[in-house]
Amino acid sequence: MADMTTEHELDTIDVNVNIGPQHPATHGVFRMVLVIDGEEVVDLVPHIGYMHRGAEKLSENMDYRQAIGYQDRTEYLAQFNAEMCYVQAVEKLAGLVPPDRAQYIRVILAELNRISSHFMFLGAFGTDLGVFGTAFTYAFRERENVLDLFEEVTGDRLMYAYFRPGGVAWDVPRDFKERVEWVCENALVGAMDLDKLLTDNEIFIMRTRGIGILNAQDAIDYGATGPVLRASGVQHDLRRAEPYSIYDRFDFEIPIGTNGDSYDRYLVRLAEIRESVKIVRQALAQMPEGPILPERMPRLLRPAAGEVYMRCENPRGEYGIYLVSTGGTQPYRLRIRSSCFCNLSALKHMTVGHYVADAVTILGSIDIVLCEVDR
């Protein structure tokens, strides 16, 4: 009789819980179906594609310069990084070499964009974990500084379309150096504020440490890149491993984690803000005067027939452009290798075995941009 009672108490059924697509914790239009046993997640089925706009097909029906704008709309939190990857892919095929000044402008803006993207993560991640408001306000205060600068340079707050194959569209404002230095100082203050607010916060640590562990081997197998990979202890950064543009001229550290959990992913991103400021300051000091586009630029680009897979280290990982040209004015095939798409495929592996509330933490710690996942 006593045995039967015990058996009945333990007898539970699995319940499906749907989260999203319209849910603040999913960071966009993302849906996941959790199969839960009590509070524990036993299976997870992610559903993506709600934001699929066919960016690849559209780019294949435009000329090379028109397709720049689609990069902004794909990766809307790290637009300069995405544009940089695309224009470099075109340059590789067209045989264009941007002048030095343009290279420095690109690196400065791309690194500032990394800072603003990581601030977005820190704010949103704090909110995911219940530090409601404060983290978001601190992070957005600094992000606004960066966006104001970008608006001053490009004329637009979010959709810049400022980089060009061969250089940049126009030169930066006269007070650019002072403005960037001011933004950098503030970014460091912001990083310190968030560091004080979150890093030693006991609730924050309890909710992130040991949650969503991804070891190095699994991270590589799932194709995870960027902070997710580095938090697992793999010291790999494309800016160092396969330096593109002028990244071989700068001295910076590659922060890595040890446990591969959500806390380490947070720490890696926080440290990367400081490293990006280092790069920006070195670039500012080295930036020469001069032209921003090559002497002879064709009005309509016709890159030579061929193909290239250009990859860049974006805030969220390896962003790749696989470009096939047949010598025409439009890309024959333009494939966007999305960093979040691959990182997100490891979500199930990271979440199974944790509680439902941790699923939100883990999803937040991957830092997804759904427009980039779905393209």
Partner: protein, 203 residues
């Protein structure tokens, strides 16, 4: 006058004509796979290895497990539609052990393209292969869950990234009047894809 308003010189004239030397990875592949016919070429960044679709799994398995190759990271998997020349599945690989890259291109026919899955080698291939099926209709044999990922669940026989699928005409998605005005003002460049009329209505 800004620099890009100058003359219309095509870029290929400035590009080097001489074929560049092929990287050492190509020889490693030839040594590791003596019985397989593969063509090697040097791309803008990586070595390109072209193989037949039938050999794809064998080549990629060797690429992953051979000690000299050790490609443990599948960077990217994509389909390309070369119309009359058939389809291609393109694998971009990287080795964290050796720090080298390779691009493997597997050729497939346009009609009923089938290739063996590599999701057993890299779990990253799982989602990429589902996307390639969505966009090109390539069937990855042995894939554990080959269902649409980006497209709607019931969209099983329409492959939008194939070259025989044109974009809808501009009028259809921006309103007839606007499209007409833009066409009259000469804003639609010929060959931009917007002027393509779909071959069959209600496709």
């Amino acid at each position: 006058m800004s620099p890009d308003e100058k003359d219309d010189k095509p870029a290929e004239e400035t590009a080097e004509d001489a074929a560049p030397a092929i990287g050492p990875v190509a020889d490693l592949f030839k040594t590791a796979l003596p019985g397989v016919s593969l063509e090697a070429a040097q791309g803008a960044l990586d070595v390109l290895i072209t193989i037949d679709g039938k050999d794809a799994h064998q080549v990629l398995e060797t690429a992953k497990n051979d000690e000299a190759l050790a490609f443990d990271f599948l960077r990217n998997l994509s389909g390309v539609d070369y119309e009359d020349a058939g389809l291609e599945v393109v694998y971009h690989l990287y080795s964290y052990t050796h720090g080298h890259n390779v691009t493997v291109k597997a050729k497939l026919p346009s009609q009923d393209p089938r290739i063996q899955t590599v999701s057993d080698l890299w779990r990253a291939a799982d989602w990429h292969e589902r996307e390639a099926r969505d966009m090109f209709g390539i069937v990855f044999e042995g894939h554990p869950n080959l269902v649409p990922i980006l497209l709607p669940e019931d969209m099983l026989d329409h492959f939008p990234l194939r070259k025989d699928v044109p974009l809808a005409p501009l009028e259809e998605w921006q309103g007839e009047q606007l499209g007409e005005n833009m066409a009259n003002a000469g804003h639609i460049p010929p060959g931009s894809g917007f002027d393509v009329t779909p071959s069959a209505e209600g496709e």
